[in-house]
Amino acid sequence: MNTGIPLQYFLILATVMFFAGVYGFLTRRNLITILMSVELILNSVNINFLAFNRYLYPHKLEGMFFSLFVIAVAASEAAVAIAIIINIYRRFTTINVEDVNEMKF
């Protein structure tokens, strides 16, 4: 099982994915694309959990259950975020974060 692939390769892959998500989070100005960047970040963390679980502690299941709960939290977060985005669009007719600034006051 897993012959020939070091653990570090999985971690480097997750790192690249994580920082792609961070780049998108910093540069995007559309709420939905920001949400997509957050999904990328959560997903890369899941890869880390599973790789650690499989390579370092294969007799336990902590990493698997943790990523299961991360997936559940990501799903509920996406549902609530999209409800809020649709509500914002209804009120401001845009989902650009720089045009939606009236909640501050």
Binding site: V16, Y23, P58, L61
Partner: protein
């Protein structure tokens, strides 16, 4: 090169290319489809790591549920042909420098660290074990997070319905909107 390595290289290159495309594409619907590719290749990685249950969850919940939800909301809130205006090269360059520096720092740390695996025998992850662990109150049981996550999912569902439903006629005009 074994078949395992070839599959890993395939999935890894797909994940890297499409996750970079997700955050740089100028068309929003294309970005969502690239995100779908990333999530499907990630579930391939989970299959390689022998977590079949989690790979199936990833396929159905992420690739099937969340991406469809995102695509629906894209269709509701923006025009398909709409392109993003560029943010200005300064912000792009600084964000790229920040993320590349962070990535290099993390990769150097990962390559430097000596990981040591336990010598214990691997446990076979089958559905019976997953179900028993989720509902067990023993030492390695997960009944409390399981119940908490079920309450969270219920709360998120109700919250999403309440937030997204049309406000009644008395509530349509908020004081901030009138100013």
């Amino acid at each position: 090169m074994t078949a395992n390595q070839i599959m890993f290289i395939l999935f890894a290159s797909m994940i890297i290319v499409f996750s970079v495309l997700t955050v740089t594409s100028h068309k929003i619907l294309r970005a969502a489809v690239y995100l779908l590719f990333v999530l499907v290749s990630t579930s391939g990685l989970y299959f390689m790591l022998n977590y079949q249950f989690l790979a199936a969850i990833q396929l159905t919940l992420y690739a099937g549920g969340i991406v469809v939800l995102i695509i629906f909301s894209i269709l509701l809130t923006s025009h398909i042909s709409q392109k993003f205006e560029s943010l200005g090269w300064k912000k792009n360059i600084f964000s790229a420098i920040a993320s590349i520096a962070g990535a290099i720092l993390s990769i150097v740390t990962i390559l430097d660290y000596k990981f040591s695996a336990t010598a214990e025998a691997a446990k076979e992850v089958d559905m019976r074990l997953i179900g028993k662990s989720l509902l067990s109150v023993e030492y390695d049981g997960y009944i409390l997070p399981f119940e908490v996550i079920s309450v969270l999912l219920l709360a998120a569902m109700i919250g999403a319905i309440v937030v997204a439903k049309k406000a009644g006629p008395a509530k349509t005009k908020s004081p901030t909107y009138n100013q």
